[in-house]
Symmetry: C2
Subunit: 180 residues, 2 copies
């Protein structure tokens, strides 16, 4: 399997897991009666970090689809070591790095917020919430798992784009091109 096919498979899988994350978080609701009288509905909008995660996961899924389309139209031409190919490789590398760190950060922030909702923070008098909204919290847990799988797939993808870029350079001298 060459690096292009591997990249395509990884991007498709990332997209699937990112969409799954966005849907699992976005569609998660649970209604409970407070003091057996007042209904209170928990949604992802209760915690800012979850709200941000839905948007960033959706954006990252779209980004991966665009990159997939780019690699599809790119196959067949530009497979040489021209300057434009090099520019493209730098662009893909930097965008992949940015997207990967962004989705990793969004996931980690949501995970930290969720951990606080599970454990509470006694010294701050922040109460636990997941003993009330148990099903809601389990679904968020599943979503975060999907999010981390997507993040790991994107880390591998960005390694492949690093490989695609840096193999163009000479092993002997710093940032000297191989063709020279």
């Amino acid at each position: 399997m060459d690096s292009c096919k591997m990249e395509a498979v990884l991007r498709i899988l990332s997209t699937v897991f990112l969409v799954l994350t966005a849907f699992l978080v976005g569609l998660d609701t649970e209604t409970k009666l407070i003091f057996h009288a007042f209904p209170r509905k928990a949604t992802f909008k209760d915690l800012n970090a979850l709200y941000v995660l839905v948007w960033i996961a959706s954006a990252a899924a779209v980004y991966n689809l665009i990159q997939l389309f780019r690699s599809y139209i790119q196959t067949g031409f530009m497979k040489d070591l021209t300057a434009s190919y090099r520019c493209l490789a730098w662009g893909i590398y930097l965008l992949d790095q940015a997207a990967t760190y962004l989705i990793f950060a969004a996931n980690t922030a949501a995970a930290q917020g969720s951990i606080l909702a599970v454990t509470g923070e006694k010294s701050f008098q922040w109460m636990k919430l997941c003993n009330t909204y148990t099903r809601f919290c389990h679904q968020i847990g599943g979503a975060l798992l999907c999010g981390y799988i997507a993040a790991i797939l994107m880390i591998i993808t960005s390694s492949i784009s690093a490989y695609a870029l840096f193999r163009l350079y000479s092993p002997k001298q710093f940032l000297l091109l191989k063709g020279k």
Copy 2:
């Protein structure tokens, strides 16, 4: 400037900022009187994410120093394209990636916890804390800034180790070595 010198400078700077982060968080305390009578001391141990950040920042600083020592004794020999050099390059690349994502995650989790301490979360009845412990929160803010600078420096360092590894491979065929 060649990649070795650049790497050394980046690792020294990362270490400085990581140590700064650990000290700023670890030594941050503020005592306030609650209801004008009961003294209450805020420390980094109040929030788990800050506690974890101190340890991970310290560990990452030690890791960077070890890598600095490694690159110092490595200069002069092993500068060729042998199999052992390649193994070393893979090892450094993978360790750098792991360390970078770890410090980035620790920082982001601490930032998310701190944002909740600044804004509170009305829907969860989690109260704001930074209007009480203002000086404490400002110091944490400075520490997180240093932490993110260190994370960015480590991202650049891990790009250099990706460059050092992947330039060994052929630009034509997937994972074929240049020497062959």
